[in-house]
Symmetry: C2
Subunit: 131 residues, 2 copies
DNA sequence: TTATACCCGACTATAATAGTCGTATATAGT
DNA sequence: ACTATATACGACTATTATAGTCGGGTATAA
């Protein structure tokens, strides 16, 4: 119920770590060691963030990642959905293939709550979490 | 991410349905038919809610369930946790066996957000959803 | 040319959720 | 008493989502 995935936590931990290092590069191994994160899993996540341009990748020896400057202004909503796909409290706030959809008596009230949560997450910036 | 379980949805649908019927009884079959909910699953959920005294059960033919009056003042937080156990965005807001716990750099900011969400859910009453 | 570190997709394992089944108990109506 | 209806309950299976692993690749500094 209402849980962040492990992947998102790892991503945030990594981002915050990189943030503290400014323009210096951080390697996957370095981060996975410090925070006891499975290296291969973190690697995939960092690669995904590189693709999304949340971070910049530098290949080769002495390579690594550093935070991409514009990342700071990203909302938590966008971050979560970029990494994990659409988020919503119920199916019908994302797709429209719920069997109950037509005669559902809680759709509206639930989606009102969903919008609330969403707008809270939208007002939170990644930089609020990573400092 | 951030999803209500199906069980909770079914529970809310059922509660709202019962709410509209006032003191009249509703049977599992009636509700599962109207909203296309798997009957056995709904049955279990209604039984659980009866145990929790969210609803009153009347056994035998012409039996069924009706809403328990005090239910109206229950918060969404309590409701969710009564039915599904403790809720939290991250493990450490519930237990303390996370490997990262000691050197985790996002624990505080995340738990601050978690507290926000929690307090929103606490201010929402079940009656806000079921009318 | 070698070692380091990113890149990528496919794979497996584990855990959470969703749904089913069998059996028992209560009770109204006959 | 008997029967039909409806709740009670636990164990079971199925399905899906999350978590984690593996194998083979590319870029590049030394
Ligand atoms: S239509 Fe109702 S049951 Fe279906 S996803 Fe929306 S809220 Fe849930
Ligand atoms: S300690 Fe950090 S990694 Fe562990 S659950 Fe809390 S926030 Fe997540």
């Amino acid at each position: 119920m209402l849980k962040l995935t492990r992947k998102l936590e790892y991503a945030l931990i990594a981002l915050r770590h990189m943030q503290t290092k400014g323009k210096l590069l951080s390697t996957t191994k370095e981060i996975s060691d410090i925070y006891a994160i499975p290296q291969e899993l973190l690697a995939k996540t960092l690669q995904q963030m590189a693709r999304l341009e949340y971070i910049d990748a530098v290949q080769g020896p002495h390579g690594g990642y550093r935070i991409h400057s514009t990342m700071l202004e990203i909302s938590l909503t966008k971050f979560i959905e970029d990494l994990e796909g659409p988020m919503g409290m119920v199916d019908c706030s994302v797709t429209s293939d719920c069997i109950q959809l037509n005669n559902c008596n809680i759709r509206q009230p639930i989606n009102r709550i969903n919008d609330n949560i969403r707008s809270i997450f939208s007002r939170i910036n990644l930089s609020d979490i990573t400092h």
